[in-house]
């Protein structure tokens, strides 16, 4: 049989070139905002990015104003925000990993079942839920009944936001594992639970861990849902049932206070560094921990 000859004419080559140039151009354009953000945050943030940022709580507006009039640096840092973020996000990680693993395992193993379909659909819905709505729901569920803003309420809001991402990454990772591992484990007389927790989860650790890191880096900067759940605090708080600050909440406060506005940049810089680090670690883990 004669196959049609595929010619590579000048016209086709020209079209290829144009497309290539356009792709490069557009990629460059989308990179611009990122470069500007980075430039702004670094150039304005490095000034106050010092030990004080990590060791002192937010100064009062009055103190900051006096310092500014005397030409002194801002007399405080964001320790209360850092500890608050650690507390709130930390609890959210525990809750969402615990729940997300179980739901993800369930979904990976029950494809095609009716209830699994419903759960999967709800997970998608949750993923698209605006964060402010999640905040308001948490307010109604936790803050109101417990009559008070708290770190716990904040972490519940973040848990709801992280959950769909962790469910999906667990589910997808487990689905990609060869069925042979599961069968080999069960063929040794193992219980299903032991196969899941001693073989499947460790084998899929890279994917699951990456999902958790990305989920964390997504909720780190969430402000809206925390405003109406954790509220904020000007002191370091480790109590789960007390109002608590967080880095993004402080950034919002600084934005509203001309005396503290300089701290926006160093706080943002810190947030960006942490998020970049998380993404970077996620990449390495995903690459190294391949089975």
């Amino acid at each position: 049989m004669n196959y049609p000859k595929i010619t590579y004419t000048g016209w086709r080559k020209g079209k290829d070139k144009t497309a290539f140039v356009l792709v490069c151009l557009f990629s460059l354009i989308t990179m611009f905002p990122l470069f500007f953000i980075l430039w702004d945050v670094v150039s304005k943030g490095y000034k106050n990015f010092n030990l004080r940022l990590f060791t002192e709580v937010t100064p009062s507006s009055m103190d900051a104003m006096l310092a500014r009039m005397n030409g002194e640096p801002i007399p405080g840092g964001i320790l209360n925000g850092i500890t608050g973020t650690v507390l709130i996000v930390g609890m959210a990680i525990i809750f969402s990993v615990f729940l997300g693993l179980f739901i993800g395992i369930y979904l990976a193993d029950n494809r095609g079942k009716r209830f699994a379909g419903v759960v999967s659909y709800l997970t998608d819905l949750l993923q698209g839920m605006p964060s402010i709505v999640i905040g308001i729901i948490t307010y109604a569920w936790i803050v109101k009944p417990l009559s008070g803003y708290s770190a716990l309420a904040g972490s519940v809001a973040l848990t709801i936001m992280m959950l769909p991402m962790i469910v999906r990454s667990t589910e997808e990772t487990l689905k990609m594992l060869p069925v042979a591992y599961k069968e080999a484990g069960l063929a040794l007389g193992s219980s299903y639970t032991n196969v899941v927790f001693r073989i499947l989860i460790p084998s899929g650790f890279g994917g699951i861990f990456t999902g958790i890191l990305l989920a964390v880096s997504r909720v780190m900067g969430e402000t809206a849902p925390l405003m109406i759940t954790a509220l904020g605090a000007s002191v370091v708080n480790w109590k789960v049932m007390e109002p608590t600050s967080a880095i993004p909440l402080l950034i919002w406060d600084f934005y509203n206070d001309p005396n503290l506005v300089e701290l926006i940049w160093s706080s943002s810089l810190l947030l960006l560094i942490v998020i970049f680090l998380l993404n970077w670690i996620a990449k390495i883990v995903a690459r190294k921990w391949k089975v």
Partner: protein
């Protein structure tokens, strides 16, 4: 099925009585297979692709339980116990399985892979017991000298043939009554295949082996008895020499002489 002359010991270790396997109601991938398997023999299951070899093998250790739509009926008696009425986990500890693709657990060391059966069954062992089981199991698959220096490395670090022997060791570590193997050498090179065949000949002193194979010369080389299956039915189960020289059934003869399959 007529005239079954099987090389045997005294009493059968495994009895199949009208065993059927079905993936969808009304159609049978394995249809009323009845036969006996004797201790310390190697039995080869042969037959064209899709004739139900894997389905039959996986019925014996209740692997079909993982997939609710698969139904197994009939009676399977292993060491006097009714397999289909037992706790599947107990059955699987009695009947070790080796798969077509070597599948050591990727996150476990070689050492832990051998002990995986104990770990997964929550059986706690002393360090001494562990070391003994690992050494003995690896010795019996001829892997001990090759891996004793690299015991903490991942199982996936080994070659394909070594991985498959590790998987056999993993199954043997639980001291099963019977070893079920589904084309265990079809993913391996000739040298590794050869090693495993020699290994099986040694292992039958202690264990009973059922091996599904597409490789007729392999069946001829290592098996005592051979089963020939066709369209879900057991056509012939005979002493291997007998089957290869004077098959009773026309289908068997056609298959063995390469007319089909």
């Amino acid at each position: 099925m007529e005239s079954v002359k099987i090389t045997n010991g005294k009493s059968p270790i495994l009895q199949l009585k009208a065993v059927s396997g079905s993936y969808s109601p009304g159609s049978y991938a394995v249809n009323r297979v009845t036969t006996d398997i004797y201790a310390n023999t190697i039995t080869a299951i042969m037959g064209p692709s899709g004739c139900g070899k894997s389905t039959l093998l996986r019925a014996i250790n209740r692997m079909h339980d993982l997939y609710p739509h698969i139904k197994t009926t009939g009676e399977i008696i292993l060491k006097g116990k009714n397999v289909l009425a037992m706790d599947p986990m107990e059955v699987r500890r009695m009947a070790g399985m080796v798969f077509q693709q070597p599948n050591p657990f990727p996150t476990m060391s070689i050492y832990d892979n051998v002990l995986a059966g104990y770990k997964l069954n929550d059986i706690r062992l002393k360090k001494r017991e562990k070391d003994d089981i690992v050494e003995q199991s690896l010795q019996s698959v001829g892997l001990w000298d090759e891996v004793k220096e690299v015991m903490t490395k991942r199982g996936s670090f080994l070659s394909g043939g070594q991985q498959q022997r590790l998987c056999i060791a993993r199954a043997l570590a639980l001291n099963p009554e019977i070893l079920l193997m589904d084309e265990p050498t079809s993913a391996l090179d000739p040298i590794s295949t050869n090693k495993i065949e020699e290994l099986l000949l040694q292992l039958k002193e202690e264990f009973t082996i059922i091996i599904v194979t597409h490789n007729m010369s392999q069946a001829a080389r290592i098996s005592d008895n051979s089963m020939f299956m066709y369209l879900g039915e057991l056509v012939e189960h005979e002493n291997t020499t007998q089957m290869f020289t004077k098959p009773q059934n026309k289908r068997t003869e056609e298959y063995l002489t390469g007319v089909f399959g």
